[in-house]
Symmetry: C2
Subunit: 356 residues, 2 copies
């Protein structure tokens, strides 16, 4: 499979299905693992890095991950292809921007990805659309077990899994849920959510994880602590809190509909109108407007658009996706024009053209 083939398919997190998909875009679990026989990457020279990469490459492509899998040597990829993988949530920004031997293995369905030589030797990620953490947990445990049959992880009886950064020591798990919370943002109620999450040591991040800004009203809720609790306890914490946020967002949406339906309808319709008519539009404005439109579709204020199409637009209007679709490198101004042109074209088409 070539990277460009991904453009025409909808990755796992774009499918717009699964439980509570109106608010929960995707559920994700990742495990940080290191091989016992090698030093952490901060203390590994280039040849050791390469050896780690070769070792893990051999093992991960051999796993039964479900369906067709691909392995890419990140070092061999052009910048735009790395960015493309970041946009698809298949690799982290850190892996893209790092150096030396490193790679990623992922399934055609884009629900499983294994990053080699990111911060740790291995990062395993399983993602499901909608609110489906149990399924993610079952799947990632299975993959983790399969790997443990082949390699020896750095593990301490007392501390648990050892990781490059102390914040991941113990379980090495990060459980995260990507949520779309436009009504809480609009009413500024989101601040209360942040405060409540902070009190129970849960983190709130933007679409692209650590250090990224929240864009288009998307927030990732995840655990900060990995030590001292079992994986099941950490999972339970997120599983308990997310339904509260979902119902809070729904309640505020209904209140908005009830108390200021016309203002909301106006906001949503104008956003849709701008996306259909702009001749030049930035990535940030696109995210912002698509966020309004997504809420509008979910609330029945827009009736000629489907959520999977909106998700496609979120994905395809990102810089690397645009350039891969156009098969050329574009500067910022040209991307803004290409983005506007793509949006006009997609939004003028009948809805059955959702799978290209």
């Amino acid at each position: 499979m070539e990277l460009k083939d991904l453009i025409d398919t909808r990755g796992e997190w774009m499918r717009g299905e699964g439980p509570d998909a109106d608010i929960v875009i995707s559920s994700r679990i990742r495990l940080a693992r290191n091989l016992a026989q090698f030093p952490f990457l901060t203390r590994a020279d280039d040849s050791v890095r390469s050896e780690i990469e070769r070792t893990l490459h051999r093992h991960v492509v051999d796993l039964s991950l479900g369906g067709q899998i691909s392995y890419f040597d990140i070092n061999q990829l052009e910048g735009i292809d790395r960015q493309f993988l970041v946009e698809r949530q298949l690799i982290s920004r850190e892996l893209a921007e790092s150096h030396g031997s490193r790679g990623v293995c992922f399934t055609r369905r884009e629900n499983v990805s294994l990053m080699v030589n990111e911060e740790d030797h291995l990062r395993i990620q399983v993602l499901h659309c909608g609110f489906e953490l149990d399924e993610c947990w079952q799947e990632i445990s299975r993959i983790d077990d399969l790997l443990e049959e082949r390699v020896t992880y750095a593990f301490d009886e007392e501390l648990g899994y050892l990781t490059a950064c102390p914040t991941n020591v113990g379980t090495g798990i990060r459980v995260s849920v990507l949520m779309h919370l436009p009504a809480l943002v609009l009413t500024k109620e989101i601040q209360k959510v942040f405060q409540a999450l902070q009190k129970i040591s849960l983190a709130v991040r933007g679409l692209f994880g650590e250090g990224s800004q929240a864009m288009g009203d998307f927030y990732q809720i995840s655990n900060q602590i990995t030590l001292g609790n079992s994986e099941e306890q950490l999972l339970r914490k997120i599983k308990d809190v997310v339904p509260n946020i979902i119902s809070y967002e729904r309640k505020v949406r209904q209140a908005l509909i009830k108390e200021s339906r016309q203002a909301l309808h106006d906001k949503v319709s104008r956003a849709y109108g701008t996306l259909k008519s702009a001749q030049s539009i930035s990535s940030e404005e696109t995210m912002h407007l698509l966020s309004s439109v997504r809420m509008g579709v979910n609330l029945g204020l827009i009736d000629d658009l489907e959520i999977p199409t909106v998700n496609d637009l979120f994905m395809h209007t990102q810089p690397a996706h645009l350039q891969k679709m156009r098969k050329t490198s574009l500067d910022s101004a040209d991307r803004n024009a290409a983005r506007a042109s793509y949006l006009r074209q997609r939004l003028a088409l009948p809805q059955d053209r959702t799978d290209a």
Copy 2:
């Protein structure tokens, strides 16, 4: 004829035809006249006002003004109907908001209107779409002569026509041209135009004349001085300066097209998109967006819309027009919703429905 019949026809200034109609909406001349046998209105009691109104009413409806004419007793009209006439440029705000006996006589084509008991006993107005001052002058001279055969104007050998306000003494003429200058506004070059006009004692006003704000990039250029020059000299001054402003606006439009075509296209398209999609929109925002769209149509950046339709929208989205179309009184919020609904409906329709 009833006032509501006017809704379905396009008044003279909305026709969008005539010389330089891309920039000059309309040319207008008005004459201020008073009857010698009566005192000025500031010194007339109610019974004298009524007598003046009766006298002039009798004479004006008897003139040969071309086509069907109507006379309305402003005092008998509801507030919304007065506002309706203001919006159509058939009467001034002053006449609408004044009190006592007063009226207006106008032609079905809306190119001639005669206001009785505005600031002066009589205000004669002739309007042509496009830049056609000579035609206005011929027409208004004819009407003035016809009237002078029937009544005796207050006239002084030395001063000329006597008027209620000294600023109109002499010729009593106001020559004005309504121009659409979006490119000069966008580039802030309009300030230079203002300064140049001020030096030669020409006034710049908004759409509704004296004291009104410029809205939607519309400006009325008119003479300030009425005394010491002949009508022909005053006319000549405006006729000389307007072509310079026209070519200035055209030059700046072409420069914008050349240097920032995409930004201009984007601005115009977004304005069009917002008008087609808003669920609530104020009169001011509508004017502002229609102004962009009008320039877009004239520059070929919008190709599925005609200028007369844009002119219709300017007219019909005004408060009194909206309420007369809906046949009900609407508060501001309801007007904003009705305006948005009307715009969406008109802009979704094929272009041949321009004359309702």
